[in-house]
Amino acid sequence: MSAAQFEARVTANTRLGGGYFTLELEADAPTPVAAARPGQFVMLRGAWGRELLNPRAFSVLHAEGPRLAILAKPYGLGTRRMHALRPGDPLTVTGPLGVGFPDPDPAIRDLLVAGGVGLPPLHLQARVAASAGLAAQQELFYGGRDRSDLVMLDDFANWNITMQLATEDGSFGVRGRVTDALRPRLIQAQAAGERVRILSCGPTPMLAAVRHLGLEHHVETLLCLEENMACGFGVCLGCAVPVHGPKPYRYCCTDGPVFDAREVRWP
């Protein structure tokens, strides 16, 4: 289903600790965002007048009928305003946009590698897999600075999805980074001849490390990227992603946000 722009209202703004919050929105009627695939995103803009012009991009955390939800953390002017939204406040939604992750495949184990506000695409992938009876094919690798950076763990537990958690201060899970947990798993898979695939979303330094690990172990690695974007639908050309191939750039909003790690031209 193609994207649309529509009005919605906040129904809940839930603080999750660590600064994270979920915003739940509801439109007057079912929206095309309900068909969003994991990794697809929406552009959201509040009644911000002329001071803040552009909407902000958020991965879809969950969507059904007229409802949708996102996960965010106050960072800049836009997310700080969104953090302050209350039930009843209006938001303009554009979506679903972009190209998401592939469907769960019974023949492949998906290693879902998440950090920070990069959780939503993997949370939605896990939800989709669980409802397709493929939860056993999914494993979550989730890292943060401390315990407060790891949110929504109950959902993964309820879906019976194996979790490997890492915190840099060792306050929860193993001490270290998410890649420290991922590396031995890749070695194990390689040794066992197991077919695995990495789906990852998180801060760019984390994605760069995941990319290196995936390439090193010859594992299919799909990265869900984030770039500054003004429009989200292929017009402003602000969200260029450097790639290998005939053209030096592709676009995060319309070619991605999910890119094959081999294609991304990063150091």
């Binding site: 649309a4 552009m43 012009l53 770039e227 500054n228």
Partner: protein, 324 residues
């Protein structure tokens, strides 16, 4: 004191208007660089209701654009340094123009080169293709090197370039001027005398933003073009200056138009049509919404036709008249 003009019924407002030899069904056009080649908007809005649209700037050969980051938001505006990325003239004519031609609205093709020969080559190729109503000669993009800025800031150079393009193009040439020029009236005069049918103004204003935590400019090329409502007062002033100096020169005004009232301000300042740029990013239906709002605000202030709005601005009485 000016008497209050009675309102007219919105259904009596006539948006169809003239821009030089062109007949437009509405004075509102989508601006170059903010509308790509139009297709992306078809899913969101009725493109056939526009007065027209100006394409992304086209060069003879494709361009891949600038490194990242390319954009950042600023107070009431945004900076961009996309680098005139485009598909090139040949691919544009083959893959993009047929869609635009079928819309039945005024098709303006923005174009540029990097030197005289490439500008002229582009004008010749595009300007003799049926279905292109206007060639919008871009002498004002701040985001290319090779001294490109001279075309837009030195009147004598702009004059020669415009004349050379006019000579090879069957389509009329509208020159898009840069606010970074020292004297906008002198620039308008230079291109007018070179045979330009009209002028578009303004392009973005060169600006900068800094991320103090990373100690870096917020865009990779350090400077970028500022657009959005932050630049509207400057755009209005420049449109007004050029309109006052050359009342017969068609002006397409632009700079931070977000609503119908903004568009009417440009008409009153002397523009005969108005382009809508940055607003399209947040709201792909912006042009259509602004069209409805323009009709309503024209009705409210008692202007029934676009031509009646153009330049209807009244000066404040001078001190002598007040005390006299």
């Amino acid at each position: 004191m000016s008497a209050r003009v009675p309102a007219v019924d919105p259904s009596q407002v006539e948006l169809a208007c003239e821009f030089g030899p062109l007949r437009l069904q509405s004075p509102l056009l989508a601006a170059s660089g903010c509308f790509a080649y139009g297709q992306q908007f078809a899913a969101f809005t009725d493109l056939r209701a526009l007065g027209g649209l100006s394409t992304k700037g086209i060069s003879p050969l494709p361009r891949h654009g600038n490194p990242l980051p390319r954009i950042c938001e600023t107070a009431a505006g945004m900076l961009n340094s996309i680098g005139l990325e485009n598909v090139g003239a040949e691919a544009f004519l083959r893959e993009k123009l047929p869609f635009l031609r079928d819309l039945g609205v005024s098709v303006w093709v923005n174009f540029f080169g990097t030197d005289f020969p490439t500008y002229i080559e582009c004008a010749r190729t595009l300007g003799n293709t049926p279905g292109i109503d206007v060639l919008e000669l871009n002498i004002s993009c701040p985001n290319i090197k090779h001294g490109g800025i001279e075309f837009g800031t030195v009147p004598e150079v702009a004059h020669r370039l415009t004349r050379a393009c006019v000579e090879v193009s069957a389509a009329p040439i509208v020159v898009k001027l840069t606010p970074n020029a020292g004297d906008i009236v002198a620039m308008a005069d230079a291109v007018r005398q070179a045979g330009a049918m009209g002028v578009s103004l303004i392009n973005t204003i060169t600006g900068m933003a800094i991320d103090v935590r990373r100690r870096r400019p917020r865009i990779a090329t350090t400077y970028g073009g500022l657009s959005g409502p932050a630049i509207k007062p400057i755009a209005l002033r420049m449109v007004h200056q050029v309109a006052r100096a050359f009342p017969d020169l068609p002006i397409c005004g632009m700079g931070g138009v977000l609503c119908g009232e903004d568009a009417l301000e440009f008409l009153m300042a002397g523009a005969r049509c108005v382009q809508i740029g940055t607003a399209n990013f947040a709201e792909p239906g912006a042009c259509l919404r602004i069209t409805h709002e323009l009709r309503d605000v024209m009705a409210e202030v008692g202007v029934a036709r676009v031509a009646d709005a153009v330049g209807c601005l009244q000066a404040w009485p001078a001190e002598a008249e007040l005390s006299g």
